[in-house]
Amino acid sequence: MKKYLMKGNEAIAEAAIQAGCRFYFGYPITPSTEIIEYMARKMQQVGGTFLQAESEIAAIYMVFGASGSGKRVMTASSSTGISLKQEGLSFLAANELPAVIVNIMRTGPGLGGLGATQADYFQATKGGGHGDYRLIVLAPNSVQEMTDLIMDGFDLADIYRNPVMILADGILGQMMEPVIFKEPEKIEIDKSWATTGANGRKRNIITSYNLHNEAGEEKALYLEQKYKGIKEQEQRWEEYHMEDAEYVFVAYGTSARIVKGAVDQLRKEGNKVGLIRPITLWPFPEKAFIPLLNRIKGYMVVEMSAGQMVEDVKLNVNGAAPVAFYSRQGGITPQPEEIIEKFNNSYHKGGEQ
């Protein structure tokens, strides 16, 4: 298959089109603007609809409306713009409308800056909008994986009738890497729920309004079951040098790329270290930790935030071994030497964790 050298953001847009996305609604914001600009150029050529909305709020509700047609739809933004979409995400989830939402993160809180960050983990995985809902959250760590996960993301959204978020940072969005677009899988999906204007059948109505508590509970239990199913079926992670590892790093996205370098170096120095890289942030790859609990001597989480995913790691390690943490924030990426130093201080000098 043909290899292209592409910027992460452009690869995202191209992958979406190849996955059959035919609606794009967006609003420009650095560092994700290349996605809307690519869609502006390409969407019409493939017979789809592109629209630059007046705000991120308008864009997410255009996604809402278009998704009701049962066809594939996407929007993208960066942190502060994603904050504006939170109400819409809650509504998409409640109405079980499939859509793909891309967050190429910038720093926060507030306006922040454009550097690399992973500070939106909580917002993405714990629900930034109201109510008990879940987004499926996928965290690529290369341009190739961005394209693969966009394609998978559309499938997951359709299969589970649920919004899917791709969570990446400005480095992944802006960097150029070779990429191959895999042939999108053809999956059969029942979309009889869609509001297609068909005649002669029961009308389809998209709503999440519910004033009867009994019916409300029924809906909540139904959603809970659905999310349990996703949790059972869809956990994804990558293992790196885990066969004989005694100490385990946990990191995702750009941080995981950097940690791989640190793992290689630590191995050269004779340390049995490995890496677990969550690919689904929700559902969190709990299954990756179960076989480790009796054998791992210590964990170390590396994030570009004040400590968000580390809470999920601690929950799953559940006291079986210490969990150390290293981070850089505000747009600064952690360096391998810093990670190694923190690791050595935590586990070789009996020092702080």
Binding site: T33, I36, Q52, E54, S55
Partner: protein, 286 residues
């Protein structure tokens, strides 16, 4: 008395020739001319190249978020009426994402001045179509020309009851300075829409374009600045390419119409309640 130097803040990073320079110097000169001191002015801006005005002007300032300068400005104005509040931002900021707030600020008529640097494009994000871009405008998000009609900020303001409306051009800084001065002196919500060319990304709405096409209302015979209907008509006739004070009327402000609006600035009030007042309140619940 403050001088222009006193109002200079951070070193601007705008592109050489950017229209926003003129807007900022007009504001600073207006403040000096009116005898306003830096600590008596608050510049509250949105996000865009234009939004940087609050960093570059040495006064109180809020560099807020995209589209939200007006609610923040209204809150600040109600909190401290002794500080002259200047809200400011771009066309994307104020007429796109912030248009809802704009209409409500107009009809509410709180005593603030709103300076919009209208360059018909998104500058900071490097050149996308804006809500004031003309139909057919080519940019990175409308490569084959925009399908949408531009918004009409002047008419929108007028039909929603604005009490002061002016329009200027960055290429005529002398007039712009006078317009900003009049807007600050006006009691109520005052809008100055400024054609402020983006020399880097907009090759259509240039200085030359405006020099050729703008008509000053001083040159229009019988122009009646108090006749809302006629002003709207004129704006339609000229496609909004007018400069000057376009409309003005004396109108009660939100502050004046609100029963028992506090006389003294809330920021300066002593909010420690008298024990006797508290006791009286307590009595009501006994």
């Amino acid at each position: 008395m403050a001088t222009l130097k006193d109002f200079r803040g951070d070193q601007p990073t705008w592109c050489p020739g950017c229209g926003h320079f003129s807007v900022m110097s007009s504001l600073q000169k207006a403040a000096v001319d009116l005898g306003i001191e830096p600590h008596e002015m608050g510049v509250i801006s949105g996000i865009g190249c234009s939004g940087k005005i609050s960093e570059y002007t040495r006064a109180y300032g809020f560099h807020t978020l995209h589209g939200r300068a007006l609610p923040v400005a209204q809150g600040a104005a109600l909190g401290n009426k002794d500080v002259k509040i200047i809200a400011s931002g771009g066309d994307g900021d104020g007429y796109g994402i912030g248009i809802g707030h704009f209409i409500h600020a107009v009809r509410r008529n709180i005593d603030i001045t709103y300076l919009v640097m209208d360059n018909h494009i998104y500058g900071l994000t490097k050149g996308q179509t804006s809500p004031t871009s003309s139909q057919g405008f080519i940019s990175k998000t409308s490569p084959k020309g925009s399908s949408e009609q531009p918004i009409q900020p002047l008419e929108t303001a007028l039909v929603n009851g604005i009490s002061f409306l002016a329009q200027g051009f960055s290429g005529n800084i002398k007039q712009l300075n006078e317009l900003v001065k009049a807007a600050i002196q006006h009691k109520g919500f005052a809008l100055v829409n400024v054609f402020s060319p983006c020399v880097t990304f907009n090759k259509v709405n240039t200085y030359d374009f405006y020099k050729e096409n703008l008509i000053d209302i001083g040159a229009i015979e019988g122009y009646d600045v108090n006749n809302r209907g006629k002003v709207i008509e004129k704006i339609r006739e000229t496609n909004g390419l007018l400069t000057g004070i376009l409309y003005q009327e004396e109108k009660a402000t939100f502050e004046e119409l609100t029963p028992e609006f506090p006389e003294a600035s809330i920021a300066k009030q002593n909010l420690h309640l008298d024990v006797n007042v508290l006791k009286a309140i307590e009595k009501q619940f006994q």
